[in-house]
Each structure stands twice: as structure tokens, then as C-alpha cells.
């Protein structure tokens, strides 16, 4: 996985366009969900690595999002589910940028195909170099959000 800061920025930047702060928070939590589920299964439940691979698939994200949205209040459950799932899908897309020598950074098409997929734009050991770029994007997004809020007032 890239560092969590990159994951945060990838979800927080589009989150600028969401007015409801609760849905925005769910979008951000959603982007960490695949890793939380994977680490929980691997470290706490001691499952195999391949068992946890389902947490980084498009269908797996939908199922986990549905499970999580059941824990928020009924009135925002549907938009909450959409935000969680969108966050999870953003996580998978960000993971795909890694270059693992063709082995695949995750298996997004499970259960239809177990093959690993990657776009291969950046070496995993170099994702730390994205932090300054992430910080700049986050700063721009937060500035944009403030400007939107002022215009609406």
C-alpha cells in the first residue's frame, strides 16, 4: 500500500465537493477501510494473505461498505454506503499505481478473476516521495473548500 497520507489526500480532495461533513468523514474512513479490514484479518484473525486479498477487490469493498453503513444512523445510511464504497474504490485505484514487477498490487476483480493487476507508475519504496505532492494537493483542496463555504454564506 502507499502511505496512508496519499490515501487520505486521494479521498479528501474530491471530498471538497461534499457539503455534509458526516458523509465527507465517511468517504475518508472508506478510503482506509480496505487496509483496516485486511490488517484486521491478517494480524488479529491470523487469516492467510490470500483470504484478505478480497478486501482489496471492488466487490469486497461493496460488501464491507454495506456492513459498515449498518452502524450509522438510518437517515444517512444510503449516502453513507455510497461514500464508504467510493472511498474504498479510490483506495484500490491508488494501490494500482504501484509497480510490483508485474506481480500485481491487488486483485480488484475477485471473485471473477484472481489475477493481480497494477498500473505500475511508481516503485513501492518510492511512494514516500509523494508526500510533498500530497501536501500541496491537500492544501489546495482545503483552500478551495473554504472559498466555496464563503461564497455560499
Amino acid at each position: 500500500m502507499p502511505d496512508l497520507f496519499t490515501h487520505l489526500v486521494a479521498a479528501r480532495a474530491p471530498g471538497v465537493f461534499i457539503r455534509d461533513k458526516r458523509i465527507q468523514a465517511l468517504l475518508v474512513i472508506g478510503t482506509f477501510m480496505p487496509d483496516i479490514a485486511y490488517k484486521g484479518l491478517y494480524w488479529v484473525m491470523q487469516t492467510r494473505e490470500t483470504f484478505g486479498a478480497a478486501t482489496h477487490s471492488f466487490l469486497g469493498v461493496l460488501l464491507i461498505s454495506y456492513l459498515c453503513c449498518l452502524f450509522v444512523e438510518e437517515s444517512i445510511r444510503k449516502p453513507g454506503f455510497i461514500a464508504l464504497a467510493a472511498g474504498g474504490w479510490i483506495h484500490i485505484l491508488v494501490d494500482l499505481i504501484k509497480f510490483n514487477l508485474g506481480a500485481g498490487s491487488c486483485r480488484p476483480l475477485l471473485p471473477f478473476s484472481p489475477v493481480g493487476v497494477e498500473v505500475g507508475w511508481i516503485d513501492p519504496e518510492n511512494v514516500v516521495l509523494l508526500i510533498p505532492i500530497d501536501a500541496a494537493i491537500l492544501a489546495a483542496a482545503l483552500l478551495l473548500e473554504r472559498r466555496f463555504a464563503r461564497v455560499q454564506q
Binding site: D3, L4, F5, L8, K21, R22, A25, V28, I29, F32, L41, T47, R48, T50, F51, G52, A53, A54, S57, L59, G60, L63, I64, Y66, L67, C69, L70, V72, E74, R77, K78, F81, N100, L101, G102, A103, R107, L110, P111, P114, V115, G116, D123, P124, E125, V127, V128, I131
Partner: protein
């Protein structure tokens, strides 16, 4: 789908589906990139399997092959080492039962300051998690006592 009607059933169904997807992924993905120690222990079973070693240290270098120590086992690799003895690399190759050995497809040297880069990423990731949890608590109140009272009614 998102109402409180049949809440327990929905919760149970979501959990069951996630578990089923995990079991399916574990079975389907077993033959994809198995751990090196399994290949070394059962070479005939994993003959001709494509392997990716995300991290390995070069132990010795010879004319047309070199030996690497991964986190779980040592193995000979046929091909030219991109780093000298003691250097670290990531590699992908085909596991051959005769030897056993790995036939090198592709490799990449890892930077010497990999430990420092990882430490920085871990520190940033922990900070991000703390910020996200703080933001989540700001927008959602977790009130188990209220839930208990509502449950009694």
C-alpha cells in the same frame, strides 16, 4: 436494504458474504505468488510457478547465478545479480523444482535507505490515522448507553 427492518439478518448476511468471498479468494489465489518457503519445502508441487520476492538480500554471487535470502528462506537465482553481496533487491522469476532455483525474469535494486523511508511512511501513517479518528469523532457521537435504552423500549 438500508432500513432498520431485519437489521440482524442484514448484518449476518453481509458478514457471511464477506467470509465466503474471503474463502473463495483464498482457494483461487493459493497458486498465485505462494510464499517462498512453501515452494522450497514442496518443490515438485510449485514447479514452474511465477514468484515475486518483494524483498531479498544477496548472500553470494557467482558467474551465472547468485543466492538470495528472503524473509522466509534462501534460494539460488539463475541470472546476473544487479547488486553486490549484501545488497538488497526485489525480483520476479519462475520457480524451478530442479535445485530448487528461481529463473530470473526481472529484478530491481532496493535503495540502501529503505529502512528510513519505511519508518518515515509509518510515522506519517500513524499521524494520519490519529487525525482521521479525531475528525470522525467530531462528526459522529458514539453513545452505547443511548442504544441500550432504545433497545429496552
Amino acid at each position: 436494504m438500508f432500513s432498520n427492518k431485519g437489521y440482524g439478518w442484514k448484518l449476518g448476511a453481509a458478514l457471511a458474504l464477506i467470509a465466503a468471498l474471503g474463502v473463495y479468494a483464498a482457494r483461487k489465489g493459493e497458486s498465485i505468488n505462494p510464499p517462498l518457503w512453501r515452494c522450497v519445502v514442496e518443490p515438485r508441487r510449485w514447479d514452474n510457478t511465477v514468484l515475486w520476492l518483494p524483498y531479498a538480500r544477496v548472500v553470494s554471487v557467482h558467474d551465472a547465478e547468485f543466492e538470495v535470502a528472503a524473509t522466509d528462506a534462501k534460494i539460488r537465482v539463475t541470472g546476473k545479480s544487479p547488486v553486490p553481496v549484501g545488497g538488497r533487491l526485489t525480483l520476479r522469476g519462475i520457480f524451478r523444482a530442479d535445485g530448487p532455483r528461481i529463473e530470473l525474469i526481472e529484478s530491481r535494486p532496493l535503495p540502501p535507505d529503505l529502512g528510513r523511508r519505511r519508518l518515515l511512511m509509518e510515522v506519517v501513517s500513524v499521524l494520519v490515522v490519529l487525525v482521521v479518528i479525531a475528525n470522525f469523532i467530531r462528526h459522529f457521537s458514539i453513545r452505547p448507553k443511548v442504544l441500550q435504552v432504545e433497545g429496552v423500549d
